[in-house]
């Protein structure tokens, strides 16, 4: 064998084995018939259906959600208007589909921003410890102790209406959740032998934090993400219901629910039931996803630790 051939051989990496993420995926597929597995996969289906609805709303909605039909308002469901029309004569089916989009936007902004803030702060706090950690925990815990909807309402009151502002209001509620989970996990990983080994190798704190600790802690994030997202949908709908969310006439589940409730007594059930059902399906779907994931992933985490 020539030297070049030998060189060639060293540069050809052989089979890759599965990482912990790969193993988790295998497990999720394996356990699809268990309760937790079924919950997870139902959640996945619901979640992606709603993402599809949100993205494709302009294509699948039969009408413009804001256009008013001159037929008498508050029509019950018919073939023309699958979910009927509301008190202003707007097509509820179209509004519900478009409402998915604003809910998704708010939840995405809220959860992602909360993750972006909560995760690094939690890592830092857990890693440095001491009085900085104690101070941050105190601040985060006092935010956490506030009832979520009330806090979001106060923030929304200051920031004003609109998708982005509601996103921020939701961020404020969920930063402490990400912070706590990240910080606690960081503290336990910090004491692992491989972190001490990294220190013995001469790695500095930054390297230890990002190459050794962050990845381990990241494993616990998807569960928090899905559970807080489910909660965030409810909060966003609640804010709109209270009139602190989106501006009329934007299509929004919470807002439509709030407008429709006055007509419930006159028998127009369809204008409040359909937005409400959407909120329930989406929330329960994401909660299923989170619960299923946490049930399946946690034994895995425990096993990796052993």
């Amino acid at each position: 064998m020539t030297e070049a051939a030998a060189q060639q051989q060293t540069e050809q990496p052989l089979e890759r084995s599965s990482s912990s993420v790969g193993r988790l995926l295998d497990l999720l597929i394996q356990q699809r018939r268990s309760l937790a597995g079924a919950m997870f996969w139902i959640g996945v289906v619901v979640f992606f259906s709603f993402i599809f609805i949100g993205l494709a709303a302009p294509l699948i909605a039969p009408y413009n959600p804001q256009s008013i039909f001159l037929t008498p308002p508050s029509q019950p469901p018919t073939l023309q208007h699958l979910m009927g029309t509301d008190d202003l004569g707007r097509d509820i089916f179209s509004r519900v589909l478009w409402g998915t989009r604003s809910s998704l936007e708010i939840v995405a902004i809220g959860s992602v921003l909360a993750l972006i803030v909560g995760f690094p702060v939690g890592l830092f706090s857990g890693y440095v410890g001491g009085w900085i950690d104690r101070g941050l925990v105190l601040v985060m815990d006092s935010v956490y102790a506030f009832p979520g909807l009330l806090l979001a309402a106060i923030v929304a009151l200051f920031l004003g209406k609109g998708v982005f502002n509601i996103g921020i209001a939701i961020t404020v509620i969920y930063v402490p959740t990400y912070f706590r989970v990240t910080r606690n996990h960081t503290i336990s990983v910090r004491e692992e032998t491989f972190v001490e080994a990294a220190r013995a190798l001469g790695a500095n704190s930054m390297t230890i934090l990002w190459s050794y600790i962050a990845y381990q802690v990241l494993i616990s994030i998807p569960v928090v993400f899905s559970l807080s997202a489910a909660d965030a949908i409810l909060t966003a709908a609640g804010l709109s219901f209270l009139g602190l969310g989106l501006e009329r006439p934007a299509p929004d589940w919470g807002l439509d629910l709030s407008d429709a409730q006055k007509f419930l007594s006159s028998g127009a059930w369809w204008s409040s039931v359909f937005p409400g059902v959407m909120i329930i399906i989406f929330t329960v779907g994401i909660a299923f996803l989170g619960e299923g994931l946490s049930d399946i992933a946690n034994p895995l985490l425990r096993k990796e630790r052993a």
Partner: protein
């Protein structure tokens, strides 16, 4: 000295005991005396064993040697330089030259890094010192990967290219320990501290890893500080050994001399505890009594004296030893008789340094003193001979001990022993 790689001089490590706020307010600070005034030095190319029971502080000595734990006092020299207070960038550079292998190979590897990445990581941590700027990033990377593969082959992780992309969870315990060793030697250190490096491995794998360590030592001129509780392993691999007990080195010298003829009573007891695989060869074992004492309040004088089979009156007896003795005496119904009613309850006795006291009814004081003397006279052990006086005054009975003799390390037949028997 030129060829001394590592030298510890009077190194002491105390750990604070975790206390609640109330305890911190009302009691004085207590510390765990993990390591107390330990001194030794390692010559280049030597394998020194640090042997002792669990909890004796040997791991703390190992971690302190490579500056993972800050010593409370004392000094550490590495290749002639005082590194006790080196920190920051200088310490980081220093770590390239001294490495440590921990007991649990699985826990020592980051589960999120492949074996190859883990072994390469020290090179990337020290890339500036290794000349990554001069070489350029790609050339350096190529050089590093090649070096990882050759090191993996050297430690027996073959086929290296195959294992490079495996995660720690995919490897056996022996392979993981080989990976940890590869990671430790890839920066070409001078000193390798092996902290129970083979204790978690099967016997068959253990022998192979020990052989690997010997091979690596020969090839790279490594110096080992080999920490173990296993005397058989230490005998196999070590040139010199140091026996530790409760944070102190009690005997240190050439391994073969200590194994052939142990001097310190603790070393003798340890060596006698090695099982002999021959049912006919039963001999009388004189094993230490009781448990290893609490390192928060280590015994005065020689720390082994309360358990020592060859203890003298001057070894460091003090008040609490009397209270322990009395406790034992009172709980033996054959000997105690009605002593309990006069001397008890045992909770009434207070030990403070060299004295033990009992608050008693003034009428009874004389009676108690008489009874204590009687009990002591019945037990002619070293402790009773260390008692200076038993006296009763006012309402207090006082048992006072003599001050113990000063304990020094003495040179006995080419080794240092810390025991009054040889002073």
């Amino acid at each position: 000295m030129e060829d001394e790689i590592l030298q510890l001089s009077d190194v002491t490590v105390h750990f604070p005991v975790k206390m609640s706020l109330a305890q911190r307010l009302f009691s004085q600070k207590s510390v765990v005396h993990a390591v107390d005034r330990v001194s030794f030095s390692l010559r280049s190319g030597e394998i020194m064993g640090l042997v002792g029971e669990s909890g004796c502080g040997k791991t703390t000595v190992g971690k302190t040697s490579v500056r993972l734990i800050e010593p409370t006092s004392g000094r550490i020299f590495f290749a002639g330089h005082d590194i006790t207070h080196t920190r920051g960038e200088q310490l980081r550079r220093l770590r390239k030259k001294m490495q440590i292998v921990f007991q649990d190979p699985h826990a020592s590897l980051n589960p999120a890094m492949t074996i190859g990445e883990a072994i390469l990581h020290p090179l990337s941590i020290h890339r500036l010192e290794l000349g990554s700027l001069e070489l350029g990033r790609d050339t350096f990377e190529q050089w590093a990967v090649k070096k990882v593969l050759s090191t993996m082959t050297e430690v027996g992780l073959t086929p290296a290219k195959h294992l490079y992309y495996k995660y720690p969870g995919d490897l056996s315990g022996g392979q993981k320990q080989r990976a940890v060793i590869a990671r430790a030697i890839i920066t070409e250190p001078k000193l390798l501290v092996v902290d129970e490096g083979v204790s978690m491995l099967d016997m068959s794998v253990r022998a192979k890893i020990l052989q690997l360590m010997l091979d690596l030592k020969r090839r790279h001129g490594l110096t080992y500080l080999f920490i173990t509780h296993d005397l058989a392993t230490a005998k196999f691999i070590c040139d010199r050994i140091a026996i530790m007990y409760l944070g102190r080195i009690v005997e240190i010298g050439l391994a073969r001399k200590i194994y052939a003829d142990p001097k310190h009573p603790y070393t003798k007891a340890l060596l006698q505890a090695i099982p002999i695989p021959d049912p006919d060869k039963r001999h009388n074992k004189v094993l230490p009594r009781g448990e290893v004492p609490d390192a928060v309040h280590p015994p005065a004088g020689c720390r082994f004296h309360p358990r020592c089979p060859a203890v003298l009156a001057t070894c460091g007896w003090e008040g609490r030893d009397f209270v322990d003795f009395l406790d034992e005496h009172l709980s033996d119904p054959n000997r105690a008789g009605d002593d309990e009613s006069i001397l008890g309850p045992i909770e009434g006795w207070r030990a403070d340094g060299l004295v033990a006291t009992l608050k008693a009814n003034p009428v009874n004081v004389e009676k108690v003193v008489e009874r204590v003397k009687a009990v002591l006279a019945e037990a002619p052990i070293a402790m009773t001979q260390a008692i200076e006086s038993v006296s009763g005054r006012n309402r207090t009975v006082t048992v006072r001990f003599r001050s113990p003799d000063q304990l020094l390390q003495t040179n006995v037949q080419d080794r240092l022993v810390e025991c009054l028997l040889y002073q």
